[in-house]
Amino acid sequence: MILIPAIDLKEGQCVRLRQGRMDESTVFSDDPVAMAGKWVAQGCQRLHLVDLDGAFEGMPVNADVIEEICAAFPDLPIQIGGGIRTIDTVEAYLAAGVRYVIIGTQAVKNPEFVTQLCSEFPGNVIIGIDAKDGMVAVQGWAEDSDHTAMDLALRFEDQGVAAIVYTDIGRDGMMEGVNIEATCQLAEAIGVPVIASGGVTDMEDIKRLNAVKHSGIEGVIIGRALYERTISLEQAQAYIDQN
C-alpha cells in the first residue's frame, strides 16, 4: 500500500476543501510545483492531482500547472482528476506525462466514455467514485446520483480500469477518520485494486487501513492530514512497508 499525497488546485493554488465545498477552501501554497517537490523529497511514490475548477467547469482549468508538475518530476507517477470529459483532454494529459486519468462524473453520466478510454489507453484509466452514504455523487460533488458506489464499481471492473479511487465525501477534508468498512467492503467485492480517500486523519487511520490492505487496497490518498502535519509521509510509509 502506498501513500498518495493530494494536491488540489484552485485558481493555480494548492488548497484543501471541506466536503468538496468550494467556498470552504484553505490555501496551503501558491506554488503547487514546489509542493509536489516537497512530497517527492519525502519519498512520495505517486501524486494525486485534482483540478477543482476543472471539476466544476467540466473542462481542464489548471492544466498549465499540472503540465509544469509533470515536467518537473518526469519519473513520478501522477494521477489527475477533475474536468476530464473528452478523449482530447486525456490524450493531452498523457502526452504531458500524466500516468493515470481519473474519471468521475463521466463514468456515471457516460459509461461508454470509460469503455472507449480503456480500449484506447489501457492501464491509464482510474475510476473515481465519490460516495455519500453509499450513493455516488457527481459534478464536483454538487449533485447526487441514483447509483450505489458498489454497482458502479462492479460495472467497470472488467473494462480494464487500473484502479478505483473510493472517496467518502462525507469525510473528505473533515479529519474525522477514513471509512474503513466501506472501503474494505468495496475492495473485497471488486476485481481491481482500490485506492482509499477521504477523511484520513492520523496514524491510526493508516494502521487500520494497513491492517486490511490485503483486501486489495493499493494506496491511500492523503490531503489535509499532510498539510496540517498530523501524518508524516515518510514515517507513515515506513510503517506500512514494515508491517
Binding site: I2, D75, E188, G191, V192, P193, H214
Partner: protein, 215 residues
C-alpha cells in the same frame, strides 16, 4: 456439485478471492472457504492463496494442520496457487532469514533486493506493486481466451527461481525477467493476483473452475 475449496489458514482476508471465484462460478460450482483438512481432501479443486511473510505462512499452515492436505491436493487435484500460495510450494524461501517451505517443487524464492534496479540503472521500488504484463511461455488451458502479454496485478518483494524450467508458464519483467507463473500437471500457480486483475484475472479463474487438471 463441484466443490472448490479456498484454503484459509488465518493469513488475512480472503473475501476478495472467494468473491471473484463466485462471480465466475457456474451453478454447478460450489465455492467454500475452509481451514478443515478433511474438507480440502473432499474438494474437487483447491485454491491456495497466501499473503504476508513466508515464515508466518509456513507456521500458520502447520498450526492449522494443513501441510499434508495441501501437499496431497497439489498432487491430485486441480490446484491454483496465488502469490504466497505459489512461493511456499517451493523448497525454500530467502524470507525471514530463510524459511523451509512445502517442497512440492525444487527451487527457491528470492528477494528482489534493496537496491533493485532496471537495466538502465534506475532504482526500482520493492515491493513490485502494480500492473505488469505476463508473457505466456507455454500453451495451457488456463490461458484460454487470455491474450499473451495481458496485464495482471502484482504485489510482492520475492520471486520464484525454478530449477526445472519446464515449470515456467509465464514470465514478467521487473528489472529482469522472472517466473511469474508456473504449471505442472494439475498445478497452476501465479505470483500475481487474478482476483485483482480485472477481466484477464476473472477469465483465468473461470478457466480454472472448468479445468480438469491436465496441461
Amino acid at each position: 456439485m463441484h466443490t472448490t475449496a479456498v484454503v484459509d489458514y488465518g493469513m488475512g482476508n480472503l473475501r476478495s478471492v472467494v468473491n471473484a471465484l463466485q462471480k465466475v462460478a457456474a451453478k454447478r460450482h460450489n465455492i467454500i472457504l475452509t481451514s478443515d483438512p478433511r474438507q480440502l481432501k473432499q474438494a474437487d479443486r483447491v485454491v491456495f492463496p497466501g499473503q504476508g511473510a513466508a515464515g508466518d505462512c509456513m507456521r500458520a499452515i502447520d498450526e492449522y494442520g494443513l501441510r499434508e492436505a495441501i501437499i496431497d491436493a497439489s498432487r491430485n487435484r486441480p490446484f491454483l496457487g496465488i502469490c504466497m500460495g505459489m512461493q511456499v510450494l517451493f523448497a525454500h524461501s530467502e524470507e525471514n532469514q530463510g524459511t523451509d517451505c512445502l517442497g512440492v517443487f525444487n527451487g527457491r524464492v528470492r528477494y528482489f533486493g534493496d537496491s533493485h534496479k532496471d537495466q538502465s540503472g534506475v532504482k526500482l521500488k520493492v515491493p513490485h506493486m502494480g500492473w505488469n504484463g505476463v508473457r505466456q511461455k507455454q500453451q495451457h488451458p488456463l490461458w484460454h481466451s487470455i491474450e499473451d502479454n495481458s496485464r495482471f496485478y502484482f504485489v510482492h518483494s520475492y520471486y520464484v527461481e525454478v530449477e526445472d524450467v519446464s515449470l515456467v508458464a509465464g514470465t514478467s519483467d521487473y528489472g529482469f525477467s522472472f517466473t511469474s507463473v508456473i504449471a505442472s500437471e494439475n498445478v497452476f500457480a501465479l505470483q500475481c493476483h487474478p482476483e485483482k486483475s480485472a477481466n484477464a484475472g476473472l477469465q483465468l479463474l473461470r478457466n480454472f473452475l472448468n479445468w480438469e487438471g491436465q496441461a
